[in-house]
Amino acid sequence: MSGPAETAGEPMTAEKSETVGKPVAAGPAAGRRGALVRAVTAHRGRLAVAALLAVACYLPFQLVPFHVFQLTMVLVYAVALLGLNLLVGHAGQISLGHGAFFAVGAYGTAIMIDRWDAPHLATLPVAAAAAFALGLAFGLPAVRLHGLYLALVTLAIAVFLVPLLKRFESVTGGSMGLTLGKPAPPAWTGLAEDQWLYFLALAVAVVTFLLARGLLRSRVGRALHAVRDDEAAAEVMGVRLSFHKTLAFAWSAMFAGAAGSVYTWVIGFVSPDSFSVTLSITLLAGIVVGGLGSLAGPLLGGLFVMFVPSISQDVNEAAPGVVFGLLIIAVMYVAPAGLAGLAARLARSTMRILRKG
């Protein structure tokens, strides 16, 4: 997805040299196919996204509600991972506490609905803003801390959150959590509840992906990459390290908060134990496995976070953790750049075969 325009030049020249080398007998059919391959190559990023969106809109009408629910959760995790990716993959910082920002979004939405009967959709911006503010506050230590020290501080956020949620029982419902109604699909859509939730999650995912893409393709995205690659050089270029690190933290938290908000819509229930440290670590594992610093990474990571734990449960009920861990190791061994890196490698070799064929 690194922009089709940049890669378009190289395949075209390869194509040209090939037609020069071949005898003329290949004829117009080969020329037409060449043009098609060229068009596909030049717009492959856009085509892939369009195809993916088409499939995403078609799927909920074909699957049973449980599978639609699973896909909805994939989208929810993808949005959270998009935020985490911004911080870890693009700005080069680490967070072992992103589950906490997710929880803030989830609880924010739950409390707003529980106490004030707020309409579901209106809770998302508020929950995201709350996560943003918290991310800004916790982004400040990120300015001074590096690597393992930062990991430890962010881990602390995740650790103290669960007892905190249990402590303020009157607001959070304590260990019992809060049970809420789900948003009802408007009559004009004709959708079932699970489908409506799915499309809400899809809409949030598309909007957040567009926001992240805009951010990364701009001066700000380049500044984040510069901070990740070489802080000292970035500062000489005029990049304010503290500003960019803190805001990367805040934006990252905001996406996680938005994901948490959608999570509450979808599940209709929040409890402290859903947001333990394990969630934070699973999210981090998800984005590393999905592919750090790539736009497809969060989606692949979302699939991983959603399906791998249940698959490992199926493989061996006694030790799902072991299977989960082994799968992470296996993926990192086969695809050191994550699933997105693997997918890009496969796409490249497919293109090569297409051009030759």
Binding site: R219, V220, R222, E235, G238, W251
Partner: protein
């Protein structure tokens, strides 16, 4: 344009710079030479506020440079390259150059994520300029390539392009031809002379390659053990007994 006076920098017990003073006039190209450990890079780090001066003053265009925060150096019109390359390895060559123009853009997080029209316009303008620079330095062919994995000579040019993208008035080059072969050195010297004219920059260059320094610089300052031991035209400095002693050792 640049006036360094009595600049002293200490790291623990080591005095890296000991009361160094020199000045650079607008449009000049000044060479900074001296044996390893003479304090040349430390001086550069001071000028870009990467390390703090113990005492002394640095005035740049009449203002106190030591009071400028590190991230504002670029906006003040000072750009530098690094001794062992300070490129961003995972970014493309074009993006590296665009980071050099960071301080000339204004898009913030919110505006950028929404891709507002003014952000698109700014982006298009900076991109066109960066592509012009890449063309000028014969880097257009590698524009989309990540910086990691390109030949050293190419990377040196990328760094120069990145420094120029910030439209500097003062350009600090830290060993720009270190590690290049003699043909590349000649080429780089030619490029630098042309660029100096074209972009109207004042240049201070740290370099060990004497042929390069003698051939391109108007004036040379020689440091040894943190002190200035000679200053003058390349010819004068080359004949200076102190300089010969610093490089070759004293005659017995």
């Amino acid at each position: 344009m640049l006036e360094v006076r009595d600049l002293t920098v200490r790291f623990g017990g080591i005095t890296a710079l000991d009361g160094v003073g020199f000045s650079v006039r607008r449009g000049e190209m000044v060479g900074l030479i001296g044996p390893n450990g003479a304090g040349k890079t430390t001086l550069f780090n001071c000028l870009t506020r990467r390390c703090d001066a113990g005492s002394g003053t640095v005035r740049y265009e009449g203002a106190d440079l030591l009071a400028v925060p590190p991230h504002a150096i670029a906006a003040a019109g000072i750009a530098r390259t690094f001794q062992n390359l300070g490129l961003f390895p995972r970014m493309s060559v074009r993006d590296n150059v665009l980071v050099g123009a960071h301080h000339r853009g204004g898009a913030g997080f919110l505006a950028a994520s929404l891709r507002l029209p003014r952000v698109r316009r700014e982006e298009a303008r900076l991109r066109a300029e960066a592509d012009g620079l890449l063309d000028r330095l014969a880097l257009a062919a590698v524009a989309g390539h990540p910086a990691a994995g390109l030949p050293f000579g190419t990377l040196k040019r990328v760094e120069l392009a990145r420094a120029l993208a910030g439209r500097p008035r003062l350009l600090l080059l830290d060993e720009p031809v270190n590690g290049l072969n003699s043909a590349e050195v000649g080429e780089f010297a030619g490029t630098l002379r042309a660029v100096r004219e074209e972009f109207d920059v004042t240049v201070v260059v740290v370099e060990h390659h004497m042929g390069f320094v003698m051939g391109t610089c108007d004036r040379v300052v020689c440091l040894n053990f943190g002190r200035r031991i000679a200053e003058g035209t390349p010819e004068e400095v080359r004949r200076d007994p102190g300089v010969m002693e610093a490089y070759l050792g004293a005659a017995v």
